[in-house]
């Protein structure tokens, strides 16, 4: 059993919206953790985290020069800023949905 860590303790993230598409860019605080991030934070794990929002598609773009990954999550914004009935119509808070993931520790 690997010890688990909270993603927010090793990475930071920002959410952006375009229509009904959300993007969340995640960056590790320590460059040495980037290989772990690329290995661990897969499209499948992100799709599962957002499953209740029923995204059509999750695509990840790796940016080793920035020690980060950009996730593009189509259809996750309940219609987007102009059509959604949610409190946070832009989805600005959703970076913290991702940062709330518990993942196997990079030290393990």
């Amino acid at each position: 059993m690997h010890p688990k860590i909270l993603l927010a303790d090793v990475a930071h993230a920002r959410a952006g919206d375009k229509g009904n598409t959300l993007n969340v860019a995640v960056f590790v605080f320590e460059p040495a953790h980037y290989a772990w991030l690329e290995r661990t934070l897969t499209e499948a794990i992100v799709a599962e985290r957002f499953a209740h929002r029923r995204p059509h598609k999750v695509t990840r773009h790796c940016l080793p020069g920035l020690h980060g990954i950009n996730f593009v999550i189509d259809g996750a914004l309940e219609g987007g800023v102009n059509q959604s009935a949610t409190l946070d119509r832009h989805g600005k808070s959703l970076s913290y949905l991702l940062l709330g993931l518990r993942l196997p520790s990079p030290a393990a």
Binding site: Q83, A85, L87
Partner: protein, 459 residues
């Protein structure tokens, strides 16, 4: 190289300086005052820009123009311009903004009159040609599924060419409508450095600079602070960002000296990918920007160099946005506090779900419980129900319902059911508020570049 004082005239040769005074229409109106003084101390071509549009704001502005032909520019445009315009004219710092929104020429006329009352004159240029609302309904580029009778606005994102031309012809102030956000910066840098419209490498650097700056303080400490891991200095007084761009294509991001906030590798990384999908192909009217090879270098306090930006030819089509009427958005809430608050809010949710299923069955209400789960929820209530089942006792919670639909009256009836909880709901429910308004929506489309002809008018 390290810790070079800002600005450093001895190293400033060949650099242009551009600052962003507003990153959206709701930004702090007087933040640009200190920015202008920081630009005044820079040695080289200097520019100030205000980014004031979002997808929906243009449609709202078009509605204001329909009700009054002298309105329809960004409603806060003059709150941003007034504190700095005289000083910028005196310093020779051109101002560029897309805050003309649906009516740039009305904004130009008002500005001309205001300046004239102060005994000032200026060369004011309007960039027009983005607004295609007059021809949209019958156009062959209109998306097939677009209801043409609901169109209120139709604007194409236009590029830097007209901005650069206006500056070359001596504009002190350039007012556009749907100028693409980074294109304001690209236009300034093409003017400063004489970069050609097909110099993709340089236009990519300029576009990256514009992209990093266009949301104002989001690159200098805004939308960033997290006390546990990412503290921000003096967050009540964030400094506006400045890009220093060399004629060789070098790019440094910094901010107003002595202000709050900070420019770090972390703030620049987060903003670099903000609202970006494929980092290797960020499409703009000016260039296809490739950020896939970017890396950062810290040159000193609040000074980050951005390396490795590349560019490819601009796309053959331009993106546009249609603003459409027909939808309404209503919200209402009621709060519970003290012993048993979670049990009472759960009961209120149950009652409201039953009532709306009976009274307004065609609507799709979205429920939140602020204090338990309100931001990550989905339309089916899956996330909310799981959170409520596991919720610990919380001292203070609020039930919220949001509804978007074409049927305004049905929404009104549903919101009335929230108010009715005062008498008919669980004990101790208070603080009902409700609001209902039109919800303009947008639909994107693409149009061949040759069909859009930006042009200038002078005022």
């Amino acid at each position: 190289m390290l810790d070079s004082p800002f600005p450093s005239p001895s190293t400033a040769a060949g650099r242009a300086y551009i600052g962003c005074g507003a990153g959206f229409a709701g930004d702090r109106p007087r933040a640009a005052v200190a920015l202008v003084e920081a630009l005044a101390a820079c040695d080289g071509p200097r520019y100030l820009f205000f980014e004031l549009l979002a997808e929906r704001t243009l449609a709202e502005a078009q509605l204001r123009r329909l009700s009054d032909p002298e309105r329809g520019y960004a409603s806060q445009l003059f709150a941003f311009l007034e504190p700095v315009v005289a000083r910028c004219l005196a310093l020779g710092i051109p101002i560029i903004t897309n805050g003309g929104a649906a009516n740039p020429t009305a904004a130009a006329r008002r500005l001309r009159d205001q300046l004239s009352a102060l005994g000032l004159t200026a060369r004011i240029a309007c960039v027009l040609g983005d607004d295609l609302v007059g021809e949209a309904a019958d156009a062959d580029w209109l998306p097939a599924d677009c209801p043409s009778d609901e169109i209120v606005s139709c604007n194409v994102y236009i590029g830097a060419e007209a901005v650069a031309q206006a500056l070359a012809e001596g504009a002190d102030i350039v007012i556009g409508g749907r100028l693409a956000d980074p294109s304001m910066v690209v236009g300034a840098l093409r003017h400063a450095h004489g970069w050609a419209g097909d110099d993709w490498a340089k236009l990519a650097v300029a576009t990256a600079a514009g992209h990093l700056l266009e949301c104002g303080t989001q690159v200098s400490g805004g939308y960033f602070a997290d006390p546990a891991h990412k503290p921000v200095v003096d967050p009540a007084h964030l400094g506006c960002p400045i890009a220093e761009v060399g004629s060789d294509g070098s790019l440094v991001i910094t901010k107003v000296p002595g202000s709050g906030g900070g420019v770090s590798e972390r703030t620049v990384k987060e903003q670099l990918l903000y609202e970006v999908h494929d980092p290797a192909a960020y499409l703009t009217p000016d260039v296809t920007l490739d950020l896939s090879g970017v890396h950062l270098e810290r040159l000193g306090p609040d000074r980050i160099a951005v390396h490795g930006i590349t560019g490819h030819p601009a796309p053959a089509t331009l993106k546009g946005n249609l603003g459409l009427r027909g939808l309404w958005f209503g919200e209402a809430g009621i709060s519970y506090a003290g012993p048993g608050a979670v049990a009472r809010v759960r009961l209120a949710l149950e009652i409201l779900r039953q009532r709306l299923a009976e009274e307004t069955p065609a609507l799709h209400p979205h429920f939140d419980v602020i204090g338990v789960a309100s931001l990550f929820n989905d339309g089916d209530g899956t996330w909310l129900d799981q959170a409520l089942a596991a919720a610990p006792e919380v001292a203070d919670v609020r039930l919220r319902v949001g509804i978007v639909d074409r049927d305004r009256e049905a929404i009104e009836r549903a919101l009335q059911e929230v108010e009715a909880l005062y008498l008919n709901g669980p004990a101790g429910g208070g603080g009902v508020r409700r609001q209902l308004g039109e919800s303009l929506r947008t639909q994107a489309f693409f149009i061949p570049r040759t069909r859009v002809i930006p042009y200038l008018t002078w005022h």
